[in-house]
């Protein structure tokens, strides 16, 4: 049972990243691979500042700012130098690996005797419940903020940028600036996932971000499938469904492991699972024709 609770917790912690990928991929139509780097960046900054005895809450703006810088760098390379977004993301991600390693100082930093976000809440006697409450509150606040931003006039301009760039420009919106702001927001959300996961698992590892973008993409694709299936139009509910997608994704991985699949095959299973989510709607379409 604990096994599944851990999966749900991980899904919650990673859902901030899923919201970020939902913004970059679904709203801006940009495949953003910076994620691998900015997720680790968030965890690295968290580890360094926590061991320097910063308060867990004080770290949040720093983590978000670092993620935002990484995201805007990708967007700047993409918009100013006219380099493909995918390549721009890969470049920034690759560069970030070295930066993360330099900042962290070594490949792994344990966070055992430090006061984390999760050790601050003592509502229940069971620490597992406290962890869940902390994660839920944290994600709930993020969800409200992102929903609010997307509903404002500025948010409409953001959503229009990915949907119809020519119209958006003719309505007085600098779409390049919008993309920079959008990827900055997306990657600061991703960095927040790094912040949460590092504290939840009590360590930061330089390799923890490798392939994490697939997890995020998978979560968004699950969410997206449900959104079009249930024809959800409300922004709040769309984001909630994406959040659930993140939890479902982790649950599927947990089930896979619990039925005895070799943990070494986990990345392969992840890739195949994402492939399945992407292909099932298409296969169905082919059958109908």
């Amino acid at each position: 049972m604990d096994f599944y609770i851990t999966a749900i917790m991980l899904g919650l912690c990673l859902s901030s990243m899923s919201l970020g990928i939902f913004i970059s991929m679904k709203i801006f139509n940009i495949p953003d691979i910076t994620t691998d780097g900015s997720y680790t960046l968030g965890a690295v900054v968290t580890a360094i500042l926590l061991t320097a005895h910063w308060h867990a809450a004080a770290i949040i703006p720093v983590v978000m700012a670092c993620g935002a810088v990484a995201g805007s760098l990708t967007a700047l390379i993409h918009t100013r130098l006219k380099i493909d977004a995918l390549l721009a993301g890969i470049l920034v991600m690759t560069g970030l690996y070295s930066i993360n390693l330099i900042v962290l100082g070594r490949s792994n930093v344990p966070l055992i005797n430090v006061s984390t976000l999760f050790s601050k809440i003592h509502f229940f006697s069971n620490q597992g419940y406290n962890d869940a409450l902390a994660a839920l509150l944290f994600i709930g606040i993020i969800l409200c903020i992102v929903t609010f931003i997307l509903k404002t006039d500025f948010g409409i301009a953001m959503r229009a940028t990915g949907d119809s760039p020519s119209m958006t420009r003719s309505l007085g919106v600098n779409t390049n600036t919008m993309k920079i702001i959008g990827l900055a927001i997306a990657n600061s959300l991703t960095a927040l996932s790094g912040y949460l996961v590092a504290q939840y698992q009590n360590f930061t590892d330089i390799n923890m971000g490798i392939g994490i973008v697939i997890t995020g993409l998978g979560s968004v694709l699950i969410g997206d499938a449900l959104i079009s299936w249930w024809k959800i139009r409300s922004i709040l509910w769309q984001l909630v469904v994406v959040l659930c997608g993140s939890i479902i994704f982790q649950m599927v991985l947990a089930v896979t492991l619990s039925v005895g699949v070799d943990p070494n095959l986990l990345k392969l299973v992840t890739a195949i699972f994402v492939l399945l989510i992407v292909s099932i709607p298409r296969l169905k379409l082919n059958l109908r024709q």
Binding site: S166, M167, R169
Partner: protein, 249 residues
């Protein structure tokens, strides 16, 4: 008022496929004038429109709008004066956004998009009233995604969106090219009404000579990147459709 002076536009300069799209073109369109631009493919009509809107910057020459030199202004900057309707109905609207969201963005064309929620009941009612005037029965569907509407409906709504905010200039790039005859009529009549009602300076590109004859207060024929014929209001009313066909011989 739009003033173009000695406009040159060259694509792929210095390369084998160099194209001179506009060649030393000068044109002044007065406030409230509705100019219809005709011409063969490749005569530079769309480039002319793009130079005015700022989607393309000219290689040489100057563009002035209401006495402000906007030659180096980008499209999103010139939107302070200019509203556009595109040839492709998909380009002028955002398909996955609701009709209401589309109108909200259009209502903010000349101002900044702030971090406040602007869609409220009053705004919704205002949009519904405007849409009801079209008589298409769309006023109760404002929460629907724009993409669920037909091309004709979307073009008509794009026209309405263009007057949601202060507009001086309306640029119409073959707005009816993708539409059936009935929808074309509705869109052209809506455009004509709005241009008169808001006293807009308008520029319409069309391949439909009947429309060119019927609408507008000035007729311009382009050829090889410059103006071949420029016919004023008085002469235009006397112009016979049959004579116009001869221009393309």
């Amino acid at each position: 008022m739009i003033e173009l002076k000695n406009i040159h536009k060259v694509f792929n300069k210095g390369e084998a496929n160099e194209v001179v799209a506009l060649h030393n073109l000068s044109l002044t369109i007065q406030k409230g004038e509705f100019a219809v631009v005709i011409g063969s493919n490749g005569s530079g009509k769309t480039t002319l429109l793009n130079i005015i809107s700022g989607a393309e910057l000219c290689s040489a020459g100057s563009v002035t709008i209401n006495h402000t030199n906007v030659t180096r202004y980008r499209e999103y900057h010139r939107s302070k004066w200019i509203a556009r309707v595109f040839q492709n109905p998909l380009s002028g609207t955002a398909p996955n956004l609701s009709i209401l969201d589309n109108f909200r963005l259009a209502a903010l064309r000349t101002t900044s998009k702030k971090l406040t929620i602007g869609i409220n009941d009053a705004f919704k009612k205002q949009v519904q009233e405007k849409i009801a005037a079209l008589g298409m029965g769309l006023e109760n569907k404002v929460e629907q995604p724009m993409g669920t509407l037909s091309g004709g409906q979307r073009q008509a709504l794009t026209l309405l969106m263009s007057v949601m905010d202060n507009t001086d200039i309306l640029l119409l790039d073959e707005p009816t090219a993708a539409l059936d005859p009935k929808s074309s009529n509705v869109v052209m009549q809506t455009a004509d009404t709005l241009i008169k009602q808001y006293n807009l300076t308008a520029l319409l590109i069309t391949h439909n000579l009947k429309d060119a004859n019927q609408y507008g207060t000035r007729l311009i024929q382009m050829a090889e990147g410059n103006i071949l014929r420029d016919i004023n209001s008085a002469e235009k009313t006397k112009l016979q459709l049959q004579n116009m066909f001869g221009w393309f011989a």
